[in-house]
Symmetry: C2
DNA sequence: GTCTATATTCCGATAGAC
DNA sequence: GTCTATCGGAATATAGAC
């Protein structure tokens, strides 16, 4: 495989990841990607046979990203609260650029996604949930974080606050997102 | 205006409301609506000049619905907790049928919505937020509900739990939604 | 192996029939 | 006033050029 090919394929994934968070799976086209790369839209079909395959590639890439983030946080010397804040930072970045998270994006479009990728969305969410769950459990064990519910339920509460928080931020403003973020963290202290 | 016309227009709105919660604004077509009504897709253009106008009609309809619900709850003799549960019931119904709420739907597609309707989405969310806010304030005043944050922040926390909760329910299952719903209510008691 | 020219399908929309 | 036949364009996808 030549360097050019690898680059193009990676570039397509990179742009696709951005588009799916900005507009959603159904609202971006191969043309959006090919324009940015100055190639013809059909060239994208060489790297990804169909949009369905591109989506699978995007989701695989996100899963690698989450796994690396998980390992990175695990290996770090950060406190549980700091680890949590590192994760939450990602959402604040999304709110800044009017993007929503990949989880909210695929969940909102779920009923229109090709069957072949639905299982991947389940896996992706599983990764995110278990990553946060571990951090919460560690925080509780060390006395840094406090909550009554199960770690999984707490994770779901936090994740839904963040996922819908960045969605709302587009419409009612970043101030609301910030209020949500601060309150969600402060609930755990 | 004949009875037929009124019926058709109302039917289009009814079906459109269902489609936007099921698939999102970009993923449903006039054909989806016309098929269900056994008319040609172009007939929908008579009642709503363009998809943009249909969306405006759908959002107006939701605003009326929220306003009526607000008045209804206000006039009722229910406790604040019962009023809150009435509102939350709507989300449980959505989770049952793999639908997401109108707020999450337009928020997820926001960057692709026609400019002419963006203001309506702000108004719609404003209605929902202020409805819940009033209930929370009443509950706190009467000692039925308890929370530290401002009523608005608490409203945002609850609304994001519910909105993303029904989104997640599509993928990770209704059990997770139920855990979220129960925990969200129990936080307020 | 990589990309382009082209086909096919579907969508939203207009013009005109009844 | 209500709806249908049809258009123009965009999106995905295939076949084939380099």
């Amino acid at each position: 495989m030549t360097a050019r090919s690898t680059d193009t394929k990676q570039e397509i994934i990179r742009i696709g990841k951005s588009l799916i968070r900005m507009y959603g799976y159904n609202a971006f086209s191969y043309a959006d990607i090919s324009k940015e790369l100055n190639i013809k839209n059909a060239a994208v079909h060489y790297h990804f046979r169909g949009k369905e395959d591109l989506l699978a590639g995007i989701l695989d890439n996100y899963m690698e990203e989450y796994q690396q983030l998980g390992k990175h946080l695990q290996a770090s010397s950060l406190t549980a609260l700091q680890k949590l804040e590192k994760f939450i930072e990602r959402y604040s970045t999304l709110a800044e650029c009017n993007c929503i998270c990949i989880i909210g994006s695929v969940a909102s479009d779920y009923n229109t996604l090709p069957e072949s990728v639905k299982e991947k969305t389940t896996q992706l969410i599983g990764l995110a949930v278990s990553m946060i769950e571990k951090i919460l459990l560690e925080g509780k064990r060390k006395g840094e974080l406090h909550f009554e519910e199960s770690a999984r339920t707490r994770t779901l509460l936090l994740l839904t606050n963040l996922a819908a928080g960045v969605q709302l931020a587009r419409i009612s403003g970043k101030k609301d997102y910030d209020a949500i973020r601060k309150a969600a963290i402060s609930q755990l202290k």
